[in-house]
C-alpha cells in the first residue's frame, strides 16, 4: 500500500480562496532614494502600513528590523491595521556624532503578515523596506547664522540712503560756501 501525503486539504484551500489578503508598506526612502543625515543628527520617519484594496478583514503586520539596528530603531512586534485603513510606524534614525562623512548605513525593516488559513502550507506576504542612510556634512543652512536671515536688499537700501545723505550734505555746504564767496 502506498503512503499518501496530504498537504493541506481541499477544504482549507477553498476557505483561503474566498479571502483576499491586501497589504502594503509605504516609505519615504528606498533603495534608489537614500536618506541623508549628518553626524549626530536624529531624525524620525514613518513607515505607512496600509490595508486597503477592498480589504475585508484586519491584518496583523509583524515588524522586525533586519539590518541597520546600529542607527535605526523601531518598536518591533505586531501591529494591527484595520480593514480599509492605514497606520504609521515611527522609525528613529540616529547618526553617531563620530560618524565619518560618506559612511553608508543600510537599513532593512521587514513587515510580514501571516497566512489567514492558520494551517496547511500558508502563504503570507511581506514587504522589506530597504534604504541607505548616507552621512553628509552638516549644511551651512542647518548651522544657521544670524546674518543669513538678513535680506541683502535692506543692506543695499541702507547704503544708498547713507550715500545720498552724504552727497546732500556736501552739496549744501558747497552752496553755502559759494554764496559767501559772492
Amino acid at each position: 500500500m502506498k503512503n499518501k501525503i496530504i498537504l493541506p486539504g481541499v477544504l482549507i484551500a477553498l476557505m483561503a480562496i474566498s479571502f483576499v489578503s491586501a497589504f502594503g508598506v509605504s516609505s519615504p526612502y528606498w533603495e534608489d532614494h537614500p536618506m541623508e543625515a549628518y553626524p549626530g543628527q536624529e531624525t524620525m520617519i514613518s513607515l505607512n502600513l496600509q490595508n486597503y484594496a477592498g480589504a475585508q478583514e484586519d491584518i496583523v503586520g509583524k515588524v522586525t528590523i533586519v539590518e541597520g539596528s546600529e542607527i535605526a530603531s523601531v518598536k518591533e512586534g505586531s501591529y494591527t491595521v484595520s480593514a480599509n485603513s492605514d497606520l504609521d510606524i515611527p522609525v528613529t534614525v540616529r547618526i553617531p556624532s563620530d560618524a565619518q562623512v560618506g559612511t553608508r548605513y543600510r537599513v532593512n525593516i521587514d513587515v510580514k503578515t501571516g497566512s489567514a488559513s492558520g494551517s496547511g502550507v500558508g502563504i503570507g506576504t511581506g514587504m522589506s523596506t530597504k534604504f541607505d542612510v548616507v552621512v553628509v556634512e552638516k549644511s551651512p543652512e542647518k548651522a544657521s547664522t544670524a546674518t543669513s536671515k538678513i535680506n541683502p536688499y535692506y543692506i543695499y537700501i541702507t547704503l544708498l540712503l547713507i550715500i545720498l545723505v552724504v552727497v546732500a550734505i556736501i552739496y549744501v555746504r558747497r552752496k553755502k560756501v559759494s554764496r559767501f564767496s559772492r
Binding site: N3, F23, S26, Q50, S128, I163
Partner: protein, 298 residues
C-alpha cells in the same frame, strides 16, 4: 563693490540734477509752462504671474494601495493690472515625470482674493498607486483676461514615495502526492500576485520546512519545492528551489508595476509550484504550522 560704486554714482547724479533744477527756478513774470509727460495705462496689458505654490516641495506623499492619492496644493496668482484681470477659470496644473503618464487638473478652484492684485487657488491632482516613486515636476499655469497671455510656473517638485503592496490569492497551497514519486505540481496554483503599489523589482519567496500535523517529528524539507512564473515550468531544472527560512529571488520574476485595470496581466505575476522529489515519509498532513507561513515578498 562695483555695484555700490555704480549705484552711488547714479544716485549722486540724480541728486545733483534734482537739486540744481529746483534751486535754479525763479519767478520770471511769464506764465509758467513746461512739457508734461502724459502716460495712459490700459488695463490688462501686464501678464499674470503664478507664484507661491504651497504644500508640495516640503512634503512627500504616500501612494494609496490599489487606489489614488489626492494631492491638494495651493497657488497664488497675481496681475499688476488688478485681480479682476486674472482669468479665474484658467488656472491649471500638472505633474510630470519622465516615462510616466501626465497627471493634471485642468481647472483649479478659485478660493479668494489675497489683495487687489492677487488671488488664491486650490488644485487637486490624483496620483495613482502605480505611478513611479521619485521626484515629480509640477507645472502651474494661468492666463490673463486682458491680453490672454499664458504664464507657467515650473519651479516646484515633490516626492512620491515608494509603496510595496500586493494582493495575493490563494492564501494556502495544496499538494496531494505519493511518496517516492517526482515532479508533482500543486493542485491549486498559481498564486496570483497583484501589485497594488508602485514597486518595480523581483519577487522573493521565503519557504519553510513542513512538519507533520499528527507526528511533528516528521518533516518535508522545503528544498524539495521549486517555483516558476510560468505554468509547466515549475518542474523543470530552471525553476527556483526554495531555501528554508531564506528569502529566495524567483528567477525572472517581476512585481510588474502597472495599471491592473488594463488587464492582460499588467500589474500581475503568477507563481507555480512543484515538489521535485517526494521523500518517503509517513502518510499525514504536512503543514507550515498554525502560526507560520511561506512569505511572498518584495
Amino acid at each position: 563693490m562695483t555695484f555700490y560704486l555704480v549705484a552711488a554714482i547714479l544716485v549722486m547724479g540724480l541728486a545733483l540734477i534734482t537739486l540744481n533744477y529746483t534751486t535754479s527756478r525763479g519767478i520770471t513774470g511769464f506764465a509758467s509752462s513746461q512739457p508734461t509727460n502724459v502716460s495712459v495705462t490700459v488695463s490688462g496689458t501686464n501678464p499674470v504671474n503664478v507664484y507661491n505654490i504651497s504644500n508640495l516641495s516640503v512634503s512627500s506623499f504616500n501612494p494609496t494601495e490599489d487606489s489614488v492619492t489626492q494631492i491638494i496644493f495651493y497657488v497664488s496668482v497675481n496681475d499688476s493690472d488688478g485681480v479682476s484681470d486674472i482669468n479665474t477659470t484658467s488656472v491649471s496644473a500638472n505633474f510630470t515625470k519622465v516615462g510616466e503618464g501626465l497627471r493634471y487638473n485642468s481647472s483649479c478652484v478659485y478660493l479668494a482674493n489675497i489683495n487687489a492684485y492677487s488671488a488664491n487657488f486650490s488644485c487637486t491632482i490624483a496620483m495613482w498607486y502605480f505611478d513611479s516613486s521619485g521626484v515629480w515636476n509640477v507645472s502651474v499655469s494661468a492666463t490673463d483676461l486682458g491680453n490672454l497671455s499664458f504664464r507657467q510656473n515650473l519651479t516646484t517638485n515633490f516626492t512620491f514615495n515608494q509603496l510595496k503592496a500586493m494582493i495575493s490569492t490563494p492564501n494556502s497551497l495544496s499538494f496531494s502526492v505519493v511518496p517516492g514519486t517526482t515532479n508533482q505540481s500543486a493542485s491549486n496554483d498559481p498564486t496570483v500576485i497583484n501589485n497594488t503599489g508602485n514597486f518595480n523589482g523581483t519577487v522573493t519567496i521565503t519557504g519553510l520546512n513542513l512538519y507533520g500535523a499528527t507526528d511533528g517529528t516528521q518533516k518535508i524539507d522545503v528544498a524539495n519545492f521549486t517555483v516558476n512564473r510560468t505554468t509547466g515550468g515549475e518542474c523543470v531544472s530552471t525553476s527556483t528551489p526554495l531555501v528554508n527560512g531564506s528569502a529566495t529571488s524567483i528567477a525572472q520574476s517581476t512585481s510588474n508595476r502597472g495599471n491592473r485595470s488594463l488587464g492582460g496581466g499588467v500589474g500581475q505575476e503568477n507563481f507555480y509550484y512543484c515538489m521535485r522529489a517526494i521523500p518517503i515519509v509517513p502518510s499525514q498532513a504536512y503543514t507550515t504550522g498554525a502560526t507560520s507561513s511561506w512569505t511572498i515578498s518584495y
